[in-house]
Symmetry: D2
Subunit: 420 residues, 4 copies
């Protein structure tokens, strides 16, 4: 194992030994960040405060994590409830943007990193920390997001990313853990790692990474039912929306965070919302992930359909293009870039009319929008009845004559010229 000092610090924001007095460590309770908790104290000779964010995860016992942090020497161990903030200020923007990246990945981790980065700076300042440490590797997207978001909120903050720095391989890390009394989890040789919040669980590692392999999903997808084991009977679900956001399930009104968590249970039972996605990481690597996000998938599908129903064709085309851009920016670690604020303003305007009710059929891994109602529907039928006039089919030929004019010209002009 090399010493830290053998490694290069290139970026001006990287914390150097000797300069750091108190570090806020983003702590998950897992092996990596537990080792880090010790390692930072050793290497940097400084105090460590841990922050564990509650974003609506479903597996973790946050009290146990807190005790663990204190046991390994944390000066203080903070558990921060960000559920409603995450739902209202981050996921809500995602819903209005039909949050998706390169297919049906609904961007749970990228949005989670944004709320975490911002709050980490707040906490670091509150606790007098001059650096923030995180467990991200040097090959992924999350380092770009966390480093970027932390510095956006405080450009003078220093950052430690021990996995980028230390020279420990997996075996050395385990040795280091054993040496310092850090328990090795039973799952240490399972190659899959996950990130979990209310909007989704993301899985990476092992066979998942290599797109040429078929992933044995049954090994790790244990939170929700697999399609194969889902009920043989379909279920209908009614989602109520107001101004772009879901407000009720089958008529029952719920806060956004509560609605998402409840919906995960209902939808997850049908094996809906699990996707294999091959994706382009921001740093240029191709990667495959497996994602579980039952509620996210159903909300985005329902929202997309309702939005399409109240918007013009012109706007629908533009919104589809905009949603792609939003997805690339959100995934691409630019949550706080002014581009996102501008697109969000666009989305807010579009969503003013996204009010109504969407019926979704859930069956063995599939969610199908089977009915939509909205007072703002651009339905000619309702217009017609209300205003007393009919669609005038006499006009169609005139429309076509003008609509096709340039296509016809282009075709003829080409022909004539070729003859010459």
């Amino acid at each position: 194992m090399k010493k830290t000092t053998d490694y290069i610090k290139v970026a001006s924001y990287e914390g150097k030994i000797g300069e750091i007095k108190k570090v806020l460590l983003l702590y998950s309770g897992g092996l990596d960040t537990s080792v880090m908790l010790k390692w930072i104290q050793d290497q940097y000779k400084c105090q460590v405060v841990t922050l564990t964010a509650d974003l609506g995860q479903q597996h973790d016992d946050l009290r146990v994590i807190k005790q663990k942090a204190l046991k390994f020497g944390a000066k203080e161990a903070i558990v921060l409830d960000l559920e409603e903030e995450f739902a209202k200020e981050y996921i809500a923007k995602g819903i209005k943007a039909n949050a998706s990246y390169q297919g049906d990945y609904h961007l749970s981790t990228p949005m989670g990193r944004a709320v975490l980065g911002k709050n980490a700076v707040k906490l670091a300042k509150k606790y007098g920390c001059d650096a923030i440490a995180h467990g991200c590797t040097g090959k992924g997207n999350d380092q770009v997001r966390l480093d970027g978001y932390i510095l956006t909120h405080d450009p003078k903050m220093k950052i430690l990313a021990p996995v980028r720095e230390w020279a420990m391989d997996r075996n050395e890390e385990i040795k280091y853990a054993e040496m310092h009394g850090i328990p090795i989890p039973a799952s240490v040789d399972v190659p899959y790692s996950d990130d979990d919040n209310m909007w989704g669980i993301t899985w990476e590692g092992g066979e998942i990474t290599d797109p040429s392999l078929i992933v044995p999903v049954e090994k790790f997808l244990t939170t929700y039912t697999l399609p194969e084991n889902a009920p043989d009977k379909a279920e209908l679900l009614k989602l109520g929306f107001k101004e772009g956001l879901p407000i009720s399930i089958n008529g029952e009104k719920l806060s956004l965070a509560k609605l998402i968590k409840k919906l995960n249970q209902i939808v997850g039972k049908h094996g809906v919302g699990t996707f294999h996605i091959l994706e382009d990481r921001l740093v240029g690597l191709k990667n495959r992930g497996v994602y579980e996000h039952p509620a996210a998938h159903v909300i985005v599908e329902a929202h997309k359909n309702l939005e399409k129903y109240v918007s013009t064709r012109q706007l629908n085309e533009l919104k589809e293009q905009m949603d792609i851009k939003w997805g690339y920016l959100c995934y691409g670690a630019l949550w706080f870039d002014p581009s996102m604020e501008a697109i969000n303003a666009f989305n807010d305007q579009v969503n003013e009319k996204v009010t109504g009710e969407v019926t979704v059929k859930l069956f063995k891994g599939q969610a199908t929008v089977v009915a939509i109602e909205s007072p703002y529907a651009l339905a000619f039928a309702s217009f017609n009845n209300a205003e007393g006039y009919d669609f005038n089919t006499n006009t169609s030929a005139g429309f076509i004559e003008i609509y096709s004019l340039q296509m016809k010209l282009a075709s003829q002009v080409g022909k004539k010229t070729e003859k010459v």
Copy 2:
């Protein structure tokens, strides 16, 4: 029933009584076009030649249709085999464009209209027809496509669209049919109508049209299995691609038309490829359709994934935007606009490297891409092995410092100014 002459012809391309000597009627064998066959002879006092295109439909007996046409007075009844032309010159472009419109509608009818429009002009000229007649209504997209494509290939051709012209309602039409010995099909009071070719079957009418109703799909979706009745065991399927087009199923090489038809059977058995789509018609009406296109859906999904694997992130974002535009243009009756040719050239270039094999899992209505292989994969792993260098994680912090610079600046500049 009013006379034709009470009705207005606005567009200069509409055929007028007295001017037309011989009409090419696009003939499906159904009630509407059978009535038309008689009605045109009556009203226009002219000869009618019928054209029935074989685009790989699976329900129709084309010999029976031919006999029917002759029986109702057609001067000649042509059945034209367009299967391979449709596959190679139309569907192939669609595959490279991941053909989709406002969701998972893979544009079977819009592409079918393009090949039909072009060939109708060829045939009309060959048979000395001065007009082409079709059965499209005045509220739909197909009139825009057929009128537009016919005139693009011959701006002097006249067009008759009797449904836009005649003043018959459904009952009058049936009376007219009875009067002329045209058999009334058993399905005359079924409100659903379909359009069928190898790339997909599209359903409209009845409850389908009104998005607030749940459609009783079991009443008409009888070609392929519904997800509920699909096998309980998943099936893996290997699709081979070369330069953007599928060339083999589980190793067996097939022409594109044959591959699509065979794939429909394999995939259809699993209830995959049926979608409810709320869509914006070109003429401004919202409409819902139900689409069955098993092969189309699996091919597009597989193609999208393989293409993503061999393209850069930069290109993937651009291609996603381009595919949306392609879908709006294809649906929007602009197949022969130079815009499409330009996008197709873009797509051909991108697809030069879309070669490889995609494994798809089929299960009760779902198609999941579970594995992908390609010699052109932008996989760092293979690059690494071949070239002997590793992803350099030391560079990440430097990347992040520069990548996030303007987001950080924007955040600080705002803050400072607000203080002032």
Copy 3:
């Protein structure tokens, strides 16, 4: 001369003889609308109220026009001051969108039609009119704009477009005018026609229409100096902006309407802002126009530069794309489509920081932005000074390694495969 009744009314919104009791005529005082004023009274046997909108035109004496209208039988002749409304609710949105179409046409007429269409409906209702008449031809954009905007604000309003209807050619029109005592202007055989408001004057007709001819601009561009006659000495001009809108000229604060009118004088003296534009009309015809809009051009140029200075590269690219879309929609008669509202919300957000001062050099037809200052400038220099850190050039190589990764991969993967 045929009778009106020989002509077809296709669209359901066209007013029919016998149904119309009182018409609001959009009246310019020229030959066409003066003939119309008589013709409508003759043909429709109904009352006519005239509306002449004051949008900041500079040639017309609105009192004279009012007298003329009354003389030719108008029941009432309204002159409506829309200057500030036009500036604040229409042009202001255009400025934030860097309003341009297919080059440097800054969309004066399309914006003018939007404010006019909306107010025409208000007035028609106020005066109890059941129809609105306008002088647009059947080949242009303005009919699409006026018809569309009027019906958007009242779908039951009827519309008369006499030029589309009557069968008079130029000679017949002049005869009709003489017969009814309508004076024939001296310019009746000048082929050029113009549309004039504070944001710009647009010229069409004669040699302008045919792009292969060189237009004798000196014949009609008499409002502002031609570049050839502009002063030999350049002038510097300081434009102050606040949240995207110009608020001062050389330090003097002015309302937007006043600022535009004053700027036209200052800038026009230098022959700046006159453009030849070949454009695609909405109805498919190519047309060339010559436009004079000194203030518009300088404001858009200055705004574009200031906006670029306070926005990130990411946002600048997106905004450029959005501005193109805005231009096509505005020109394309979709001012009141929800797409425009959504883009305007996007633009408002971007423009929150577009505050500062822009120095423009005016010289013989050219406007060059030579200096820009803004408290929101994303200038690293100022960030640097304030925050005490420097641009870290050590990070560049790391940035490049990652930034170029996929381009390198794509290049190598291709090569390797070709060898195989």
Copy 4:
């Protein structure tokens, strides 16, 4: 002055002392690269071969540069004529893309870097060099372009960027030069630096960099006339195009490289083509440059107009968006990314019909397209005459009824709902 070894090499492609035997130095003959020529020999103890590319610069005597290189110890001094390759394989693509970035910067340097990077690798291999050295700083775009393009063509090549590495400030560099007998140019204290090729000259440094200052352009813009000193009489110029590329000036046919060089003289005399551009560098810094590119500006303007004349409105909107993307990619060091190849294929297709003649009026800094002719013009007039039918204005009302339908619906639906 620190030693190289005190500095960090982060990226895996940076050459390390001891590993490098022979370096290809991209040599301009200026102070920086002359000092580098010595410094590399000193530090790396290796041979240096120099490469000076002829891209059509107009100031430099390439024989003198060659002698200089040999005098300062170059093992070989290569002068490489890339004029026609640059014109035909790089600039030609730029013309078809209406090459522009954030305004009227026509991308001379970014395109020059692409041809240089590719050829540098060829030469380095031919001369057995294991590294390529260039004079780019760590704050600019050119390092990203050169490093990226070199590695794209040979991922194993090592790169030296002495200015990023050495710790010399300006004074130290001059001392070092004096010590080694390298002559200090008279212009050493002029703060402006330029990059020069046939497509344009770019200026940076001094007041140019700070957008709040007015640049004293008369100090350095000495190649072409300033608008103030241009002739008082306008000149008309005819540019012939074939398939998107200019082929003749006033009827005289010329190769692309020769045409550009001749056009620079004709246009430059009128002070046309000089622009102040505030731009976003790829590395996140805002920068202003002053650009002189008379021929480039006139060719792009003429091409844009001719292209618009032969393309449909649909295609023109798409092409405008595509051109923006092309500009950002070309500027953004992604010339060899597959995205560019795909856009170039799109552009080639569009340009098949961009054939014709464009007349440009040149006057005191302004270039105005005053006439255009093309056999492929989408001009209705010519279509009309040839095909014998007229634009049917009866159809307009029908077109408008359908075209405006959704805007009207959106407006009414909103109102009705608000009442509820």
